[in-house]
Each structure stands twice: as structure tokens, then as C-alpha cells.
């Protein structure tokens, strides 16, 4: 295979990885900060995709416009869900383990609820639309415009999030909470406000990823689950709670999958992904990147 083809292969891996990273970041925010393992995460991605599609079809809105709109809408939904559901859990759970277990069960229920809601509203048919699908040539390689947009935005947003967490006061507060909830509260960081905000942010990111994905892939009510699973794999690899780990892990997984598909076949790739996942969970349960 020529050098150009290698570049193409790796680049397409990065593009897929960009989406993984975006979804994983949202999930990580929720788990790292609040120990809420939101299995329903992918369903909100699906909602973002459907909302964008619906706006495109019936209102004629450009998906680019829907980027901030889906982010805000899903973010608001996240705030509502946290207020209605998770806050009560926090108040009534005896300790963190119980909270985690209950949070998992609740997100389980959410997954059922949201997926079937989407199915009852939009039906089971495949839908899709084309946006920015014209190929763009870079060097000797050819990519679809929307895929490049996807990668670009994924990197920018991930970078922005990491910068937010590192550099702003809000970000420092979040990181402090992640390190030590009691300690953070002692120094006056407002858990009450930060938790719903971060939960909403996580869901907003998910919706944003869904909006981006809808430009180039077909959408259906069941599309979210595989992304939840991949996001789980990514945050396991990168370390629960580590933002950079999620970014690197997401991009890395995308590239590994692309290479794997090239050298073997896509069927084996799935096997490998899960195998690596299990192996990492067993060997380094805290992820490959966290220092312990």
C-alpha cells in the first residue's frame, strides 16, 4: 500500500476516533465527577441526531445551525434529568457504592425509555440526509467534507473542554470535586450547582456528537447503543475521570480499529475491541493512563 493510502487509512481512523472521543468525554465527565455511569448516553446522541434530521427535513435548518441548538437542548435535558432523578439518588443513597449501583440501574431504565420513545415517535425506518458530502482532496487522499468537519470540531471541542477544566476557576472546581468530594465541599465549592451543570454538559456533548454524525451516517433509534459501548471502552482505556485519557483513548481506538480492519477483517475487529477492553479492565482497572 502506498504512503498516501496509509495516510488515508490513519486519517479515517482519526475521524472515527474523533467521534468516539467526543462521546467518551461526555460520559467521562459524568462518571469521573459524579460516579454516574450513564448507560443511556448513546440514546441522547441518537436524540441529537434525530432532532438535527427533523429540523433539516421539516424546517430546512442547516445542520451547522443545529450544532449549538442540539448542544443546548440536550444540555437542558441533562439538567432536567439530573434534577428529577439523580439528585434524589444522591440524597437517599447510603454510600458511594450504593449510589453507583443505583445510578447504573436508573440509566438502564433511561436507556429503555428514550430508545423506545424515539421509536414510537419516528418509527423504525432508516433515515438519512446528505450534508457536505462532497469529497475534499487533501494531498493524494480524498475525504468527505462532513467527515473532515467532524474531526475538526471533535478536536476543537475536546480541546476546549480540557482547557476549560485546566484553566478556568470552574474547571478547577470540577477537578477538585473529582479528586475529593468532601475536600472540595470544605473549601466552598458548590456541589449543588456543579453536578447538574456537568451532567448537562455531558449530555450536551452527546447530542452534539449525534448532530455531527447525522450528517454522514444513517440514523435509526438503535444507533446509540454501539456508541455507548465504545465510549465505555474508551474511558476504560483512558482511565475513569481522565479527560486527556478519553481524548487520546478515543483517537487511538479509532486508529487501531482502522488498522485492524485493514489487516484482518471487520469481524475480527469487534472481537479484538472487546478483548482489549476486557484485558485492560482486568489488568489495569483504573485505566491505562491514570497514575496510581
Amino acid at each position: 500500500m502506498s504512503l498516501g493510502s496509509w495516510a488515508e487509512l490513519i486519517a479515517s481512523g482519526l475521524i472515527t476516533g474523533g467521534v468516539y472521543a467526543l462521546v467518551a468525554l461526555g460520559l467521562n465527565l459524568q462518571y469521573g465527577l459524579m460516579r454516574i455511569l450513564n448507560i443511556a448516553h448513546g440514546e441522547f446522541l441518537m436524540l441529537g441526531a434525530f432532532l438535527t434530521w427533523a429540523a433539516h427535513e421539516s424546517l430546512g435548518w442547516s445542520p451547522l445551525l443545529m450544532l449549538p441548538v442540539s448542544f443546548l437542548l440536550l444540555g437542558a435535558l441533562g439538567l432536567a434529568i439530573h434534577r428529577l432523578v439523580f439528585r434524589r439518588l444522591t440524597l437517599t443513597s447510603a454510600n458511594l457504592d450504593v449510589f453507583e449501583a443505583r445510578g447504573l440501574m436508573v440509566s438502564f431504565g433511561l436507556m429503555f425509555l428514550v430508545q423506545n420513545f424515539a421509536q414510537s415517535v419516528w418509527g423504525g425506518d432508516l433515515r438519512g440526509y446528505d450534508y457536505l458530502a462532497e469529497p475534499v482532496a487533501i494531498g493524494g487522499a480524498q475525504f468527505a467534507g462532513n467527515k473532515l468537519l467532524l474531526l475538526g470540531l471533535a478536536l476543537v471541542i475536546s480541546g476546549a473542554l480540557i482547557a476549560l477544566l485546566r484553566l478556568t476557576l470552574l474547571g478547577k472546581g470540577v477537578r477538585a470535586l473529582m479528586q475529593s468530594p468532601t475536600g472540595a465541599q470544605l473549601v466552598g465549592i458548590d456541589t449543588e450547582r456543579l453536578h447538574p451543570l456537568m451532567f448537562g454538559l455531558g449530555l450536551g456533548l452527546s447530542g452534539l456528537a449525534g448532530c455531527l454524525l447525522s450528517m454522514s451516517y444513517t440514523i435509526s433509534p438503535g444507533m446509540g447503543e454501539p456508541y455507548t459501548v465504545t465510549a465505555l471502552i474508551v474511558i476504560t482505556l483512558g482511565g475513569f475521570g481522565s479527560m486527556t485519557g478519553a481524548l487520546v483513548g478515543g483517537l487511538g481506538l479509532g486508529v487501531v480499529e482502522a488498522l485492524g480492519m485493514h489487516f484482518s477483517n471487520p469481524s475480527l475487529k469487534s472481537l479484538l475491541s472487546y478483548g482489549i477492553f476486557i484485558a485492560v479492565l482486568l489488568w489495569r482497572p483504573n485505566g491505562l493512563f491514570t497514575r496510581k
Binding site: 479515517s12 423504525g124 469529497p135 468527505a144 480499529e257 488498522l259 471487520p266 469481524s267
Partner: protein
């Protein structure tokens, strides 16, 4: 003098009118008294099988019942009896299918049953139908293994992998193809077609440069397609399901993979494909066996379908046709022999049936009347391009580059 003809005319018209009203009134009275024909089935209205089921199968069942009832009902040995459809959602779940059909055949004892969607469901229901003695015509059940089960009450209408792959390879060979790459889905459909493809390629001089399998629900095929693009084959064959057919087509377009022949399997014949790919659909090959030009019966069916469900819901150019053909056969059987299930079964098994797809006859469970065919999108219509006897248009070769 002028009175007589007028009087005669008046009397004649009066008699004619009386006869007409009697004729109109009679079947109405007759059908009001005739017991309905109860026909049961389950169909995927939710779950992964929904796309296929709601494009290729259920709309046809509904259209058929409506048409028959508009004519006064299903003709049962000279008496018209209204059709009563007893249907439910099987949620794409086999256990639900089995349970529902057990109820329909065992408890409710319906007069006839219609098939559910897909090979898996038919695998489960066919032995059941056989046990209860109900003939089952399956238009979306595609597997050599089903035929090999040798169930006397089961009939598969769709062409088997071997004839379909033979037709494809014959056509490609006639076009001078020397190299090919293929992808296939990790499912019985993909595997059987892949095996049939390999057999068909033997001795043709066409070399299979690369072949890769992929799991159900794959999200990205571009790495595979890129390496195939590098090898520059004359033909690309995808043994794919609708979501993957669309994915492969879109991603091939993205990366600029333009083989002379591009073939996708299930889903290419759907209107959905044309909707998603728009002008890029031009020249794409796939599994299809009819369109409205195939026969007058085909045109009538197509128009009726569009009339009932709207222009946005055309029948697909493969399985829908097979579904309708099955219903035509059933209608003919019931008209001739009534509702005796064994008699219907014998009628279907022994006869040569005229349908919109041509002549259909069965060897065991297999339809050997319809040959393997290849279809191609040409200017917004999916034409049959091979074999010449069934063709509705000539093959466009090579496929124009993706636009």
C-alpha cells in the same frame, strides 16, 4: 309507431336496471351472509426487522386484502367471502413469532396464514406450519438450509443464493470483468451468498482479489473500501443488508472508489436507496427481479401500491414482487380448491403459476420458475438487466463515477 320502440326501450332498460340491481344486490346479500375468511400473520412493526418488513411485506398484505374485499371478498370456489386479517406486531422477536403463530393455528384455528419477515422467523414458523398443516408461502425467507429441511407445507418464493450469484457472475463475465473484490455480512445470508459466489467464479477466469466479512451493524467500512480501491478491481460485490448497502455506497462515494461494476445486495432495490443516494444511484447494480415494465400485472400492482400508500412508499423491486406473486398464487389456489389446507398445498406444489414475475413453479420448497436476476438503477428506475429474457432495459457499463 314511435311509441312501440320507446316502450320497448323503456321495458328493456327497466329489465336491465332490474337485472343490474339484482346483480349488485345479490353479492352484497351473499357476502353479508358468507362467513369471513380469517387470515393470520405477525409482522415486524418494531425492532431491527421493521425496515425490511414494512417495505417488502406488510403493505402488500394490506393492499391485497383491500383489493379482494373491494371486489366483494376472496373467491372461495365460486363464493366471495370477505377477508379478515388478524395481525400483530412480533417486535422482531422469534419467541413472539412462535407464540403468536401457535395461537393463530392452534387456538384461533384461522383459515390461512401469511408468512412473517426474514429467514430467522421463517425458520421458526415453517416447522410449526408444517405440524399444523397450514401452507406457508415465504417471500423473504432465503436460505439453502430451509429448503433442505424438506417441509412439504413450506414454499420459498425468493430466488436462492446460487441462481442469483450465477446470474451476476454470468453477466460480469460477459462484460469482460477480470478482477473482483467482495464484502459479506456475518450472517447466514452473507455466508450462503459468499459460498455461492465462490462456486460461481470457478472456471470463469475472474480472480477474487480481496474479500472481507463484517459484523451486523458495522459502523464504518471505509478502511476496507480504501484498501479495495487500491487494488483497482473491475467489479465490487457487496453481499449486504440495507443499512450496510447504503453505508458501503456512501463511503465508496466519499473515498472515490469507482469500480466499473458496483453491486449491493438487499436494499439496493428499495426506494430508500434512491432517496439517500440521489443522482449517485445511477448505474449501481443489485438484487432485483421486476419493475412496472415487467408485465401488465406488474404495472397494475405498482400503480395500486402507489395509489394506496403514496408515491413516497413504492414497493421494492425484489421482495415486494415475490410477496405479491405469493398472494397471487394463494388467491388462485383458494379460488380453485377452497380452504382445504392440504388441497391448497397440493395445488401450489404441483402447478405452474402465472404471476407478475412470470411463471413460478416449485421443486419441493424452492421456486425454480424465477431465474436469478440482476438489477440496475437507471435514471431513477431500478431496471432488470440480466438475463436478457427478463430484462426491462440494457445494462449500462461501466457505472458512471459517483456524483
Amino acid at each position: 309507431m314511435s311509441q312501440k320502440p320507446a316502450a320497448g326501450l323503456k321495458r328493456r332498460t327497466l329489465v336491465q336496471a332490474a337485472a343490474a340491481s339484482a346483480a349488485l344486490g345479490f353479492p352484497a346479500i351473499a357476502s353479508a351472509q358468507a362467513a369471513p375468511v380469517r387470515i393470520g400473520y405477525t409482522m415486524a412493526r418494531t425492532g431491527p426487522w421493521t425496515t425490511g418488513a414494512q417495505v417488502s411485506q406488510e403493505p402488500n398484505y394490506l393492499l391485497w386484502a383491500e383489493q379482494q374485499n373491494a371486489a366483494g371478498g376472496l373467491l372461495v370456489k365460486g363464493v366471495r367471502r370477505p377477508i379478515e386479517l388478524i395481525a400483530s406486531d412480533d417486535r422482531s422477536d422469534i419467541e413472539t413469532c412462535v407464540r403468536s403463530y401457535e395461537k393463530l393455528m392452534g387456538s384461533d384455528k384461522v383459515d390461512l396464514i401469511l408468512a412473517p419477515w426474514g429467514s430467522n422467523a421463517n425458520f421458526a414458523v415453517a416447522p410449526l406450519a408444517n405440524r399444523f398443516g397450514y401452507p406457508l408461502l415465504g417471500p423473504t425467507a432465503l436460505s439453502r438450509r430451509l429448503i433442505e429441511m424438506k417441509l412439504p407445507y413450506f414454499f420459498s418464493l425468493l430466488q436462492q443464493p446460487a441462481p442469483m450469484m450465477n446470474a451476476l457472475v454470468d453477466m460480469l463475465k460477459a462484460q469482460g470483468v477480470r478482477t473482483m473484490t467482495a464484502i459479506y455480512v456475518d450472517d447466514l445470508f452473507g455466508l450462503e451468498n459468499y459460498a455461492a459466489l465462490k462456486v460461481a467464479l470457478q472456471g470463469t477466469g475472474i480472480s477474487l482479489l480481496e474479500d472481507k466479512s463484517y459484523p451486523l451493524g458495522v459502523k464504518d467500512l471505509s478502511p476496507v473500501l480504501r484498501s479495495m480501491k487500491d487494488k483497482q478491481p473491475d467489479a465490487f460485490v457487496g453481499l449486504t443488508y440495507p443499512p450496510d448497502t447504503i453505508l458501503a455506497s456512501r463511503q465508496a462515494k466519499e473515498i472515490g472508489f469507482n469500480p466499473k461494476f458496483f453491486y449491493g445486495s438487499v436494499g439496493t432495490a428499495f426506494q430508500l436507496y434512491r432517496n439517500v443516494m440521489a443522482a449517485s444511484a445511477e448505474g449501481v447494480l443489485g438484487m432485483g427481479s421486476w419493475n412496472s415494465k415487467s408485465s401488465p400485472a406488474a404495472k397494475a400492482y405498482f400503480d395500486a401500491h402507489v395509489k394506496k400508500f403514496g408515491a413516497a412508499k413504492e414497493p421494492d423491486r425484489w421482495a415486494s414482487g415475490a410477496t405479491w406473486a405469493g398472494l397471487e398464487i394463494l388467491t388462485a389456489a383458494v379460488a380453485k380448491v377452497g380452504l382445504d389446507k392440504k388441497a391448497i398445498r397440493d395445488f401450489v406444489a404441483a402447478g405452474t403459476h402465472e404471476t407478475l414475475l412470470g411463471k413460478i413453479r416449485f421443486a419441493g420448497s424452492e421456486n425454480i420458475g424465477t431465474p436469478g436476476t440482476v438489477g440496475q438503477w437507471q435514471k431513477g428506475e431500478f431496471e432488470v438487466v440480466w438475463p436478457k429474457a427478463n430484462a426491462t432495459a440494457t445494462l449500462i457499463a461501466p457505472k458512471p463515477n459517483w456524483v
